[in-house]
Point group: C2
Chain length 206, copies 2
DNA sequence: TTAACAATGTTAACGGCAATAACTTTTGAA
DNA sequence: TTCAAAAGTTATTGCCGTTAACATTGTTAA
């Protein structure tokens, strides 16, 4: 018998796992504490010994999601700047496509308000930092323009996040016609962020 | 007495308005048909004479949101391509910042699944078309690269959507330090999308 | 060894919710 | 003026999150 198992098995982990499966299958709105309790053979209030409330359980799922995302981003080869930037963008979008319901939970600002769950904020920042490091590295190695880092990362993140959301919500039919849409989209931004010889033509503002 | 008012006043419009106010204040999860009915002095089931279910009411709110967004985008001056592209992006982000909860509802894929509410899909497409037209115009006038239109619009939309979501969810602290963050972000993409003299340097891929 | 205590579970209950059924009132048109 | 459809009502069902009060199990220290 393993430790950390008082009466039942380790209920928290089982509940976490069960909730994750429901989330993946039917989205966060389908997660019911009562149903989860019944499925793992325990009374509903028992869950409250381990989770303050439903939202806290959801927050833990989101933390798991950010950890997975971080691992995916960390696995990207960083030897060549251009390739690293493209690959990390593709990895980000691929994660969202592989785990759409989890991704929506992680970034559904209304269901998990920022600031309410410190561990969640930390996990999100840790994942974001991988992206930031890659951009910073691209600048250090002279591939990207020497613009303020917060600006560069905000732009990169906005693009991959927006692309991810629009794709998983079916707003981009172009994704079906063009299987390498993500690659093309990322390339388009990278062309404007590159530290080229002189990419600023005339100012046509009136 | 106006027409279209059988017993009450025109209940559908009042319910719509009340739901919109709750949405703006506390987000879609705070919208309760029972509460709305009580607030406008009617029994809860009465609402079901006008809305198939709660989700349909939410869908109507989202339709309103897309119509507002479309109007904002249509108001952008289109005389000069570069300025039009920048301004339409700023208008998009400004809308999201002005109506964060409405914006989240419009793009919360899990609560309003695409395909379930035809009027919503139409309204979304109509708003998207304004953005697409602006990009197409930018290409026609030679300002933007002659890449496939679906690719260009997907990129533009991804950027403004991602930026909007990250901003309203408080994920971009850079937004506080840099009040013109949106402008800078949009400029960065536009630099890569511009039909410059020769913006393609050497290919550094191994 | 055992007494005390904390951790973990139980059943019962409250209030709120979306939704449906069955019924009543109002309206407008034949 | 009758009558059917539209728009409202109360009553009810079956979920849900959450709390209160109580029971049980494991750990720890006297």
């Amino acid at each position: 018998m393993t430790r950390a198992a008082y009466h039942h098995g380790d209920l928290p982990q089982q509940a976490h796992q069960q909730a994750l499966e429901v989330l993946r299958a039917d989205g966060d709105t389908a997660i019911s504490l009562r149903a989860i309790a019944k499925q793992i053979g325990v009374s509903a209030p028992a869950l409250y010994r381990h989770f303050a409330d439903r939202e806290t359980l959801l927050a833990e799922l989101a933390v798991t999601g950010f950890e997975w995302l971080r691992e995916r981003l960390l696995a990207v080869d960083q030897t060549e700047p251009r390739r690293a930037l493209l690959e990390i963008g593709l990895a980000y979008v691929a994660f969202a496509n592989d785990e759409p319901n989890l991704y929506r939970l992680m970034f559904g600002g209304r269901i998990l308000p920022r600031g309410a769950h410190p561990r969640l904020d930390e996990a999100g920042l840790a994942a974001f930092k991988v992206l930031e490091d890659t951009v910073a590295s691209g600048q250090r190695r002279g591939y990207l323009k020497p613009l303020p880092l917060p600006l560069m990362t905000a732009t990169a993140w906005s693009l991959v996040h927006g692309l991810s959301e629009l794709m998983i919500d079916g707003h981009l039919p172009a994704a079906d016609a063009e299987p390498r849409l993500a690659e093309s989209v990322l390339t388009l931004l990278m062309d404007g962020s590159r530290n080229g010889p002189d990419t600023q033509p005339e100012d046509t503002t009136s």
